[in-house]
Symmetry: C2
Subunit: 533 residues, 2 copies
Amino acid sequence: MLKSCVFIVCYITLFQNILCAQENKQETMQKTYTEFKNNARKIHTLSSMESLLSWDQQTLMPPGAADDRAMQLKLQSGTIHQEFTSDTNKRLLQQLIDLQTGRILFTSATEEQKANLKEWRRDLLHATKLPNAFVQEFAEITSKAQESWQKARNNNSFSQFQPDLEKVVELCRQKAEYLGYKDHPYNALLDLYEPDLTVQKLDALFSRLKPALIDLLQQIQKRPSINNSFLFQSYSKTDQWDLAHKIMEVMTIEKRYTRLNESAHPFTSAISPPHDVRITTKIEENNLSTNLFAVLHEGGHALYCLGLPEKYIGTPLGESVSTAIHESQSRLWETIIGQSYPFWEFFYKTLQTMFPLQLQEIDLEHFYQAINKVDPSFIRIRSDEVCYCLHIILRYEIEKALFEKSIEVADIPRIWNKKMEEYLGILPPSEDLGCLQDIHWSFGDFGYFPSYALGNMYAAQIFDTFKREHPEWEQHLISGDLHQLRNWLQTKIHRQGRFYTPDELIKNISGKELTEECYIQYLREKYAHIYHL
Amino acid sequence: MLKSCVFIVCYITLFQNILCAQENKQETMQKTYTEFKNNARKIHTLSSMESLLSWDQQTLMPPGAADDRAMQLKLQSGTIHQEFTSDTNKRLLQQLIDLQTGRILFTSATEEQKANLKEWRRDLLHATKLPNAFVQEFAEITSKAQESWQKARNNNSFSQFQPDLEKVVELCRQKAEYLGYKDHPYNALLDLYEPDLTVQKLDALFSRLKPALIDLLQQIQKRPSINNSFLFQSYSKTDQWDLAHKIMEVMTIEKRYTRLNESAHPFTSAISPPHDVRITTKIEENNLSTNLFAVLHEGGHALYCLGLPEKYIGTPLGESVSTAIHESQSRLWETIIGQSYPFWEFFYKTLQTMFPLQLQEIDLEHFYQAINKVDPSFIRIRSDEVCYCLHIILRYEIEKALFEKSIEVADIPRIWNKKMEEYLGILPPSEDLGCLQDIHWSFGDFGYFPSYALGNMYAAQIFDTFKREHPEWEQHLISGDLHQLRNWLQTKIHRQGRFYTPDELIKNISGKELTEECYIQYLREKYAHIYHL
């Protein structure tokens, strides 16, 4: 009895010791987590400087400073990579999460901490899988390819770009091998932009989306064309500049945290979100749409960055989840809102007042039709909503084939033109209006294009949920209240950071995984009305 | 004989070995020099990012990003200090130059390399003499003092600023002790901005300059006042913006390497000289002078930075030599050129064409008199040429006394007002127009103000040499050719970097050390003409 008692006491003590050791271990983990988080915050601050360097380069930098800026950017990106992949950083993270398997070791961590660990692991694996020598070679080759692309496009000659593009594709094939993949090498690249995206998923989506879009386009093309020539009158730069700021205000973008500049290609720069998010626009005197929809598009990106949760800044939970979800926000504001009838019921009078000479004779209905005119364009970025995803599908099919090695770089122009005719019914008269139009491939950004199409589908599915949750949405929009939508998007998406994967996020919001259905339905209804189909 | 021969051969061999060893040592030194230079180049690149962060903060940054920016700046300045004062860096430099004595060890270095070593040593000693804990405390205290100064100025109450200023002064006294000095603690601070500047030198200069200026001012005040009210009519911002760019063009400032923005206080930012040097201006609708002379002033600073020798960038020979020489360049363009009769003989017609309503009735002579009107102002930065240095001497005398401990911070308002009456004959009606007007002390920038006075004296002595070397200078100016002057300044000053000390530089240019004589003579002649003395 006594013996047994002693045994029990011993056992309890042992158990307490184990518990206590575990507690101590978890306390140490908490410290390790804080240490890793502080490093991450420092790296985040370094990245914000890199963003400023890059923003300035594309907006205001004197042209003579190009070489100096390249040197600054190279140093900064090198430092960031070095700091993030340092042995110290790896060692710290390995104590909190098993880098091999992804098993969380810091078991008493909060759900938020666990989500951060999971995403930090993901980033670290991506960053360390590519050998340094490869990263440097990639930077060099793509830097040359960008110059070569610029020249080839100016000279309208794909063959001038071909040798450099071949090198880039070869490097991207190697990159896929380094990163590793299941089923298809292209999956490795897709996953860089859109976590867990695969060829299998895209094939399924696009196989249904493509015929639906081609069918809708062909129906529209049987209808009389819309006259939108008034959009191409002279609209003064100063007034367009004011318009851009009015649009930003309407979109509920806070002046305190943002600014607008001009650049050759509009973009959003999240220098230090949510406190410093800048957008740019392009103002063309003879095209009202360029600036108008650039601001709506970039403004959508900006609202995402401005809605990121302040308390998680410097960790994955303070970052946007994927390029496609980002694109869903820009396209939602640009097209679903910015090219909608209720928005213009609210804003058209303001626009008419700003440009009376050009618009006083144009009624709301005509204006609405004009900004939604469907007319296949050779150029992706000038494309209407119906044609846009067909441009993307074309690029996706070419990229996928390149990584399956079922085609080679030399085949691109021929395949490009064939698909343009097949999907959009037009044949590019020259290569600068065809396969040379986009800069992405020269950067080595294979796997990026699909995000654009996904963005549109996400946007439609997200907005479908919003409408169901807020049946009175149209009245808000007509009265100029865009806070309702912004707040909803903020709660559902922006504030989530990278807590969920894109797949989880869309399921949380809409109750189902991403499909093309909402998008097709949205287009069919909208264009049935516009074109009296 | 044989023995002796062997001895000689041995001796020669030994001598050759020594020579060879020395050569090897010097070869190693060359490698060490290159290694140190590469580190310096990296630090220079880090500094250029810091400059961009700071430029952006003062021009375009959304106000909500202030805290983020402070964090970015703190990280960057910390990194720069850390890298520059690292053990590796110290060890490398110590191999090339004795850090204690300044004796060059890399004896086979070129003259340029030796000059760089001397200046790097100077910088390293400055950077390492202050303990880290002190640097951090200094940053914190001055950061708070800036806020407190801002509030105190707004509330027009020195006593609100006094406790913080007392802390700053105490820290600056400690700083002087850390840095070390001969004769006077204030010398340690002066030397930070102007190498080798001492109280002794300044006392000598100012003891002659002060009575001469007071005498000239009193003579002028006996003459009828000039009516300059037309300068305060309405001048549209857009037209003033165009004027600023025209002035920059006339000054031969290359568009390729610069840009103009607006800011609360005009400044020049040498982000990445000579390829990225930006200036700002302030445009006031009801004051033509503000923008006009801001651009001439900052343009002068910019020309210095744009003239720095490209091949030495990242080393001291690629940097400007001192704040006073920098100020000589800005004041030369702003006052000696920009407020000269021949310049306006060339440019006044252009100005009249830009602002016909305001200027068509004003003839050149009247315009020239108006921009040179002498009228004591409470505010230093709005001061005319005759009064300007009296503002500086007042500040110098207060600073010197603070570091001699012959006065305390609490005495400042009383002494300030007393000296204002004595030197300029006016009594500030409030402290915001008196001792609270400048931000410098809140930064802890004691020792900086004298540079402004020296800048004027340097400018006059430099320009005196230019005129003697180019007696036809006036014709060039009247015909709008400012290349002649710019090229001369570039050769004599800008291209020299920090090869010479300021003392050596002025002797090389003008054949004598800096005195107040040229400046007094310049003012007497100019204002004798304007005021018919």
